[in-house]
Amino acid sequence: MKSILKLFGVLMILVSAALPVVIPEAYLYLIGLTYLFAIVVISWDLMVGYTGQVNLGHTTFVGLGAYIAALLQTPMRIGIAIHPLAAIILGGLAAALVGFFIGIITLRLRGYYFSLVTAILPLVFMQTVFIWRDVFGGEEGFSIAGYSLLDTTLSKYYFSLALLLVSLAAMRRIVKSRIGLRFMAVRDSEELAESIGIDTTKYKVLAFVLSSFFAGIAGAAIVNYRYTVGPELYDIPLMLLVILSAVLGGLGTIYGPLIGAIVIYLAKNWWLRDLIDIASLPINDEIVLYAILIAIGILMPRGFFHELRERIEEKA
């Protein structure tokens, strides 16, 4: 069974590497962006799916990584221009640092404080963009054109594919390690985990820092990919898109959220809006996505990856 899955994985990597040969550039651009979105979704799953702490402000770290990298690599903003790769890594580290402080304050308390505080974070960070308008560029953000790491669509595509594979491998390693087991122990029963000597706060904070780091890296990569940074990277619609993708795929599975991210992001940016326009309903695409999320949450709270795996295991 395992070898079949492995074979499938290798096949998928080969197919995605060969995609540029058959797919026109405009679609390639969208698919590359989807890979970066997938990193955001998987990193959310690393925290929420594995430790059971509901992070409602993951886009804070996407936006932070994006703004930090953009500021550091564009000389017109604050007079600094470091190498884009260094800027991307610093973006990830800055996000991890903020995650560390928020985590230390909220995760030592049991219960709902973490969700409440993270829910506010994106709104607060969005206001920073308007308060310090000349640094962050207000609602329009600013452009990093000319200072990006990537120039052609092809290089963008392969860069985001490589970044996705590296992040995926790293996060998979984390959850399969002893650390990952402790994350899951915290999720399944905090009391029990504590009673066998696991420092639950430490592991919750660790998961949050790792998850924020990958979100920051992904945010910084998104800026280098599309050349613009703006407050919508902090915003709640993106957050809900992340949640929907992960829940659809199945929390705590890494691969489920990956598939969910690809399906949802392509659906939203490819044909969902056209479909609504054709039906001429008084709704927008977000309403449809939120309704789907509520339906999945009630009818299939464990996501389709769990169901699929159970079906396969039953047959095997």
Binding site: V117, A119, F130, I243, I287, L293
Partner: protein, 284 residues
């Protein structure tokens, strides 16, 4: 100086009363059913929109307000129905109520735009207090809000329904064992709390403008209030809503409205560092 101070006290008290209505319901729902109702702000906004639209198209103002309150009550019922199948799954409860809140916000945005609405005040006129002008509507709002809060507190602490609510919030399984219909208590609390939020929304719309985005703002203030007062403590929420009201008015007066979310986060973080159980909370 004196009139600035007076202004802050007066407006902070009015604002605190209105947010107290939102936060006490949020706190009550959490205390009884352990559900973090992210859709609570939606009840606040929806009631105001319904009342505004109906009274705008010629219906009697008081009937329109009643209709708005009814809609917010129905919203509470909807939250109950949606969360019922997944109540044991904390992650999904949070996600579903948040999705519902944003769904409603988007529906309002698509149909009525983001411009914001405000209702004609029910009472006209202005009172002058040491050079500070206070509209009668603000005084009326404060009186109505405090009356509602006091009667809510009396209901919970004095009546037999209140005893059932307290029993359920302390231990819902034990409450079930002694014959309390816990589901009925859940429904009652969610509907009642949503109506209170709706009432706050209607009062708010007569003083300020309300837009679909206000629902998130209301939610943030409610968070700050319940964390300051202690999660699940009704009296704590009532007292801390006024504290938060003064902090808010201070922030808006001296720094500007953009800073209010910032200051709220700072307040929450400070409380969590210094006294995580809040002012009146009990250790879980």
């Amino acid at each position: 100086m004196i009139d600035v101070l007076l202004k802050i006290i007066v407006f902070g008290t009015v604002v605190g009363g209105i947010w107290g209505l939102v936060a006490s319901g949020f706190s009550l729902i959490f205390g009884v059913s352990r559900i973090l109702n992210f859709a609570h702000g939606a009840a606040f906004v929806c009631a105001a929109y319904v009342a505004f639209l109906l009274s705008g198209s010629g219906f009697n103002v008081y009937l329109s307000i009643l209709a708005g309150l009814a809609v917010s009550g129905l919203l509470g019922l909807l939250v109950y129905l949606l969360t019922r199948p997944v109540r044991k799954n904390e992650v999904m409860v949070i996600i579903i109520t948040l999705a519902l809140a944003l769904l409603i916000q988007q529906i309002l945005l698509v149909n009525f735009g983001d411009k914001g609405i405000s209702m004609l005040p029910l009472v006209q006129g202005v009172v002058e207090l040491n050079n500070v002008k206070v509209t009668n509507m603000r005084i009326a709002s404060f009186v109505l809000a405090v009356t509602s809060l006091v009667s809510l507190d009396l209901m919970v602490s004095k009546t037999s329904i209140g005893k059932k609510i307290i029993a359920t919030s302390q231990d819902s399984e034990a409450a079930m064992l002694i014959g309390i219909d816990v589901e009925k208590v859940f429904i009652l609390v969610m509907v009642l709390s949503s109506i209170l939020a709706g009432f706050a929304g209607i009062l708010y719309a007569q003083i300020f403008a309300i837009s679909p985005e206000t629902s998130l703002k209301a939610l943030i203030y409610a968070f700050a209030i319940v964390i300051l007062g202690g999660l699940g403590s009704l009296r704590g929420s009532i007292v801390s809503s006024f504290i938060v009201g003064y902090i808010l008015v201070l922030t808006i007066t001296f720094l500007g409205a953009r800073w209010s979310e910032f200051v709220m986060l700072l307040a929450i973080v400070t409380i969590l560092v210094v006294r995580p159980t809040g002012l009146f909370g009990v250790e879980e």
